[in-house]
C-alpha cells in the first residue's frame, strides 16, 4: 500500500485556481465550502508564491485526536477520512488542523454548524464505494476507481502532485536539483514530520 500525500511545488503554481474548481465540480461541493484553496503569500511583492492547500492527510492527524466522537479514521493508504453520520459539528478539528482544512456548511450561529466537510483525497467516506449515498455525503470516490485526486490530475503546470509520498518526493527532488531552487515542500514538516532533503 502506498502512503498517499499531496505536494504543492509553489515554484510552479500560477494561481489559476483550476484545482479549486475541479474539486468543487467533481464532488458537487456546496456553496460556501472549499475543500481546496490557493493561498498567495507575499502577494504583489518580490518572492511571491502561491500554494494550493487542502487537507494534507497528516501522519498522527490532529483532527482525529481532538474529535470528541472519534469520527475520523485513516485508510490503508493513510488517507484521513471521517464519518458525517458521527460528526456533531463541534468545530474542534478546525482549531487543531494546521491547514484549515475542515469546513462547515453553516457559520456563526449557536454552534449548529452542521456536519464537517473536508478534502477526502477523492476517496469518499465510510459508506460503500461509489454508492449514491457516499457521493451525496463525500463526493466521488476516484481512488476506488484507480484514479488519483482530481485537483492534482487537473493541474496545468503539474505544480500540485498527489500520489505515493516517496514517488512525488522524488519528482520534487529532481525538479529542485535541475532548476537549482525550491521554496520547500509546503506543510510536509507539520503534516508528516519530515522534509524533502535535496
Amino acid at each position: 500500500m502506498a502512503r498517499m500525500k499531496f505536494l504543492c511545488d509553489a515554484d510552479r503554481c500560477i494561481e489559476c485556481n483550476a484545482c479549486v474548481t475541479a474539486c468543487k465540480n467533481e464532488h458537487d461541493v456546496p456553496w460556501g465550502i472549499n475543500r481546496r484553496r490557493v493561498v498567495t503569500l507575499n502577494d504583489g511583492k518580490p518572492g511571491e508564491r502561491s500554494v494550493s492547500m487542502a487537507c494534507m492527510h497528516c501522519t498522527n492527524p490532529p483532527c482525529a485526536a481532538v474529535c470528541p466522537v472519534d469520527c475520523f479514521y485513516q485508510t490503508a493508504d493513510a488517507v484521513v477520512l471521517h464519518s458525517k453520520e458521527l460528526c456533531i459539528g463541534c468545530g474542534y478539528c478546525f482549531y487543531a488542523c494546521p491547514f484549515g482544512a475542515p469546513q462547515y456548511p453553516q457559520v456563526g450561529n449557536f454552534g449548529s454548524r452542521g456536519k464537517m466537510d473536508k478534502c477526502t483525497y477523492c476517496a469518499g467516506g465510510p459508506e460503500a464505494d461509489n454508492t449514491a449515498v457516499e457521493y451525496a455525503l463525500y463526493g466521488r470516490n476516484r481512488l476506488a476507481e484507480g484514479k488519483l485526486p482530481m485537483c492534482a490530475e487537473m493541474c496545468s503546470t503539474k505544480s500540485l502532485m498527489a500520489g505515493d509520498g516517496e514517488v512525488i518526493a522524488q519528482i520534487y527532488r529532481e525538479r529542485v536539483l535541475k532548476r537549482g531552487y525550491g521554496s520547500g515542500a509546503w506543510g510536509w514538516r507539520t503534516a508528516y514530520n519530515e522534509d524533502i532533503s535535496v
Binding site: 493561498v39 507575499n42 466522537v69 449557536f110 537549482g180 531552487y181 507539520t190 522534509d195
Partner: protein, 347 residues
C-alpha cells in the same frame, strides 16, 4: 623624458582593461546560454529563485497567511503548526488536569467524610424554631443555576471523557447521537446559566464583601477541622470564597463560551484556541469546587440542605454561626422575614 615610460605604462594598462571589458561583454551571454541557467536581472540575482521559503517563514511567524480569492476569510490561513499544540493540550494535558481536579476533589471529600463524618449541630444549636435563610426567589435562582451547572458540567465533561469512558460501553453511533444532543444542551443551557449568574451576583454581592469576621474564620479553618465554627455575618469566609469562585469562574466561562458559540465573530483562530484553554481549565476547576459545595451542603453538614429547600434553618444554629446576621435581622435591618426580639435563645 621621465614622463614617457609613464605614458607607455598607462597605455598598456588601458589596453589591458579594454580587452578584459570586451571579453566580459562577450563572455557573459555566452556562459548564460551554455549553462542553461535562469535569465539574470541587471543586478545579477535570479528573481525566480529568490522566493519565500516555508521553513524560514515558519521560523519567523507562528502562522502563515496570505490572500485567497474564495469568500471565507478563515481560508487565508495557509499553515498554523500550533494546531499541534492545541492537540497536545486537548488530548494530553486536559484529560489529566480534569481528572486530577475532579477525582482529586472526590478523593479529598471521601477522606474528609471518613475522618470527620457528618457535621451535626450540637444540642445548643437546636431550638426547634425555624428562621428564613433564603427567600423563594434566591432559592429559585440557586436551583436554576444548579440545574444549568450540572447539565453543563456533564455535557462538558462528555467532550473530553465521553469517547474514553462512555463510547466503549454504548458504541460509536449511540454515543454520537448522545453527544449531538449533549452539544445542543451545552450550547442552549449556557444562556439560563448566564442569567442565573447575573441574578446571583445582584442578589448576593452585598453579603459577600469581605468583612472583619473573615480573617478569624479562615484562621480557624471554618471549624471544619475541629473546634467551633467561628462567627460570621450572613455568609462566612468559606461561602464568600465559593461565591467569588462561582462569579469569577462563571464570567470566564461565559465570556470564553460566547466566543466559542460565535466562531470567529469576535476573535481569530488563535483566540478560538485560547478561549478553549480558558473554558476547559476554568470548567474542571469550578466543577471540583462545586463538588465540595454539594458535599458540604448535603451529606457533609446535617441541616444545611434545608436552607436551599424550604429556605429555613434552625434559629439557634443561625445564631451560633451567623450571629451578626441574626442581630441585623432582629434589628430589622434586613428585608423579608425577621426574628422578633427575645426569640433567640441565650447561648
Amino acid at each position: 623624458m621621465i614622463a614617457q615610460p609613464i605614458t607607455a605604462r598607462l597605455l598598456c594598462s588601458a589596453l589591458a582593461a579594454l580587452t578584459l571589458a570586451v571579453l566580459l561583454v562577450f563572455a557573459t551571454p555566452l556562459s548564460a546560454q551554455t549553462s542553461g541557467g535562469q535569465p539574470k536581472s541587471p543586478s545579477g540575482s535570479n528573481p525566480t529563485a529568490s522566493s519565500v521559503n516555508e521553513q524560514k517563514l515558519l521560523q519567523e511567524l507562528d502562522r502563515l497567511s496570505g490572500r485567497v480569492t474564495v469568500p471565507n476569510p478563515q481560508l487565508a490561513m495557509l499553515e498554523q503548526p500550533q494546531g499541534r499544540s492545541y492537540q497536545s493540550f486537548h488530548e494530553r494535558w486536559l484529560p489529566w488536569i480534569g481528572g486530577i481536579a475532579v477525582l482529586g476533589m472526590i478523593a479529598i471529600l471521601l477522606v474528609f467524610y471518613l475522618w470527620r463524618g457528618r457535621i451535626r449541630p450540637t444540642p445548643e444549636e437546636r431550638s426547634g424554631r425555624a428562621v428564613v435563610r433564603f427567600s423563594a426567589f434566591e432559592r429559585l435562582n440557586h436551583w436554576m443555576m444548579a440545574t444549568c451547572f450540572i447539565v453543563l458540567a456533564v455535557t462538558g465533561l462528555n467532550y473530553v471523557y465521553g469517547k474514553r469512558l462512555l463510547m466503549p460501553l454504548i458504541g460509536a453511533e449511540a454515543f454520537a447521537d448522545w453527544s449531538q444532543w449533549a452539544k445542543f444542551a451545552h450550547n442552549f443551557i449556557a444562556w439560563p446559566f448566564m442569567l442565573a449568574l447575573l441574578l446571583m451576583f445582584i442578589l448576593w454581592v452585598k453579603d459577600n464583601i469581605p468583612d472583619r469576621y473573615d480573617a478569624a474564620w479562615l484562621r480557624a479553618g471554618g471549624g471544619l477541622f475541629g473546634g467551633r465554627q467561628p462567627p460570621a455575618e450572613r455568609f462566612n469566609a468559606g461561602q464568600k470564597l465559593l461565591f467569588w469562585s462561582v462569579i469569577i469562574g462563571g464570567v470566564l466561562l461565559s465570556v470564553s463560551g460566547v466566543i466559542m458559540l460565535f466562531p470567529f465573530a469576535l476573535v481569530d483562530l488563535q483566540g478560538m484556541q485560547i478561549a478553549q484553554y480558558v473554558h476547559a481549565i476554568t470548567a474542571v476547576v469550578l466543577t471540583a469546587v462545586i463538588l465540595a459545595h454539594i458535599y458540604i451542603g448535603s451529606l457533609g453538614m446535617e441541616g444545611a440542605i434545608g436552607a436551599m429547600t424550604t429556605g429555613t434553618v434552625d434559629q439557634a444554629w443561625a445564631y451560633h454561626h451567623h450571629p451578626a446576621w441574626v442581630e441585623r435581622q432582629r434589628r430589622g435591618q434586613v428585608q423579608g422575614p425577621t426574628i422578633g426580639p427575645g426569640e433567640v435563645p441565650a447561648s
